[in-house]
């Protein structure tokens, strides 16, 4: 396989972008990434979007975006794996270059969720329609059941869950692209409107519009362009039972665990080598389970680890320096690519007030549904 590097990145601000269309937010992010990369052509385009058909009535997204970006006839395809559509698009682009098929590829992620669609229904299509959604369960409901089981099995507290949101809002307050740039308190999280017991609206990522893009190139092309060499040293994905009730242990995200283990193996790295990570905190409990599955802390200790500040900006392994899905926003299909944008900015040393000092190795973990699919990438800065 050839070495693959990220040579450009760009994103829109995440939030309620009512004045901008689905296609225009993608093009805005894509132009920033292409300009950043300094390339004059693309060989291929991959666009992650979860359910644009339900959100804005638009499918055939690959061709649409190639057309509006003005790069047709470049081959383009839309990639879908629920909430990790963006991360999976990145993975396909990675292999397109690694295989030698393409030299320069644009990866985009985009979602427009505030155009009036039934968002709860649209998101629920990532769960088992016949045996979960039919019974009246929602996504917050599924994660609430994971939270309840985690609290029961490991003694994780309501307060520990809240600490995830408090930390991520703090990080979001330092990120000009974040949907929410305000600090919140543990008391506010616990006292907020209940969505699905024990999770409140402040345990939940928001409904967002937004797009993020990265330009990938072979290392040879990246060197010719004299770009700082941020290599993708791992791309791994895995799956698990779609329905939460089919899983042996409700608190274990097996797809995340498998993807992480094979990502570490591919890069020849250990969890302790990772200096920062962007993870899929669609709900506070998700981040607690994920830091366990990624091997940053022992299973069951994720709540305590977070409460102690180990995952904070100045902690031993900063997690979601961007503000995560909680504060940066979660335009579903864009999330996986936006995670890559954050890690690249951090490794380049461009993360401003939220910069993690001397970071050279970062990880992204993106996840679909209640954890039935997950994708992990590891990025390494070459000096």
């Amino acid at each position: 396989m050839r070495e693959v590097a990220v040579i450009g990145c760009g994103m829109t601000r995440f939030g309620e972008l009512w004045e901008k269309s689905f296609r225009d937010i993608f093009v805005e992010a894509a132009l920033k990434a292409i300009d950043d990369a300094g390339v004059d052509h693309l060989d291929s385009l991959y666009v992650g979007t979860m359910t644009s058909g339900l959100f804005v009535g638009q499918e055939h997204v690959g061709a649409l975006m190639a057309d509006y970006l003005g790069v047709a006839p470049v081959p383009a395809v839309r990639v879908e794996s629920a909430c990790c559509s963006g991360g999976m698009a990145l993975r396909l682009g990675f292999f397109d270059i690694a295989s030698g098929n393409s030299d320069i590829v644009l990866i985009g992620g985009v979602e427009k969720m505030t155009d009036g669609a039934d968002v709860t229904y649209a998101l629920a299509t990532a769960a088992d329609q016949e045996y979960e959604v039919y019974q009246g369960v929602t996504f917050p409901g599924l994660y609430a059941m994971i939270a309840r089981a985690h609290m029961h099995q490991y003694g994780t507290t309501r307060k520990q869950l809240a600490h995830v949101a408090v930390k991520n809002h703090h990080n979001g307050s330092l990120n000009p692209h974040a949907q929410f740039q305000n600090e919140i308190t543990v008391e506010q999280v616990i006292g907020a409107t209940m969505v699905a017991h024990p999770l409140t609206v402040l345990d939940s990522s928001p409904v967002s519009d937004g797009a993020a893009c990265v330009v990938l190139a072979s290392s040879d092309v990246a060197k010719k362009l004299k770009k700082p060499l941020i290599k993708i040293v791992s791309s791994s994905a895995a799956t698990d039972a779609l329905a939460l009730h089919q899983r042996e242990d409700i608190t274990t995200l097996k797809a995340v665990k498998h993807a992480a283990e094979s990502a570490y193996k591919m890069a020849g790295l250990k969890p302790t080598d990772i200096q920062l990570a962007e993870v899929h905190d669609c709900f506070t409990i998700a981040e607690i389970c994920i830091v366990e599955e990624l091997g940053f802390v022992k299973k069951g200790k994720g709540g305590e680890f977070t409460e102690k500040g180990e995952t904070a900006l100045e902690g031993s392994i900063p997690v979601n320096t961007s503000g995560g899905l909680k504060a940066k926003g979660h335009p579903v299909g864009a999330t996986g690519v936006a995670q890559a944008v954050e890690i690249v900015e951090q490794l380049r040393g461009n993360a401003g007030k939220r910069q993690v000092k001397n970071a050279t190795i970062g990880l992204t973990q993106n996840m679909g549904g209640s954890g039935a699919s997950s994708v992990v990438h590891i990025f390494k800065k070459e000096s």
């Binding site: 229904y121 959604v133 009246g136 059941m145 009730h245 409700i250």
Partner: protein, 129 residues
């Protein structure tokens, strides 16, 4: 919900019909074409137990459109005495009554309506025993 999609699932939803692998004995609910236990493709139809216990639960406060009139309502993952797990509403109780490990019985109830002129959809729910 489109009627054919509903009609196809009635053996599972009305009668708790499951598929028991002829080779390894693992019960799949809903029935599958490939056994997750051993990869075998031959099954017997069996009826699930109607007794079980709560594995985990929540109370939904913000509900999907077709359930808004019922909110708040409780949902649990239930493990039946034959080992099968599924997601179901727990009814005829208040959210405070629910606890992990509490025994439940499975009952036949109305689940949702298609729309004003459409079909009424039935299925299983749990009650505390």
């Amino acid at each position: 919900m489109p009627s054919p999609r509903y009609w196809r699932e009635t053996p599972q939803r009305y009668r708790l019909e499951a598929a028991k692998c002829k080779q390894c004995g693992k019960i799949s609910f809903p029935p599958r074409l490939v056994c997750l236990g051993c990869g075998n493709k031959d099954f017997d139809t069996v009826k699930l137990s109607d007794k079980g216990k709560i594995v985990t639960f929540t109370t939904i406060c913000v509900a999907p459109t077709q359930f808004t009139e019922e909110a708040p309502y409780s949902i649990a993952i239930v493990e039946l005495s034959d080992g099968v797990r599924f997601t179901t509403q727990v009814v005829d109780c208040t959210p405070e009554d629910l606890e992990i490990g509490k025994p439940v019985k499975i009952v036949f109830r109305k689940i949702q309506e298609e729309d004003k002129t459409g079909i009424i959809c039935y299925g299983y729910k749990a009650v505390l025993t």
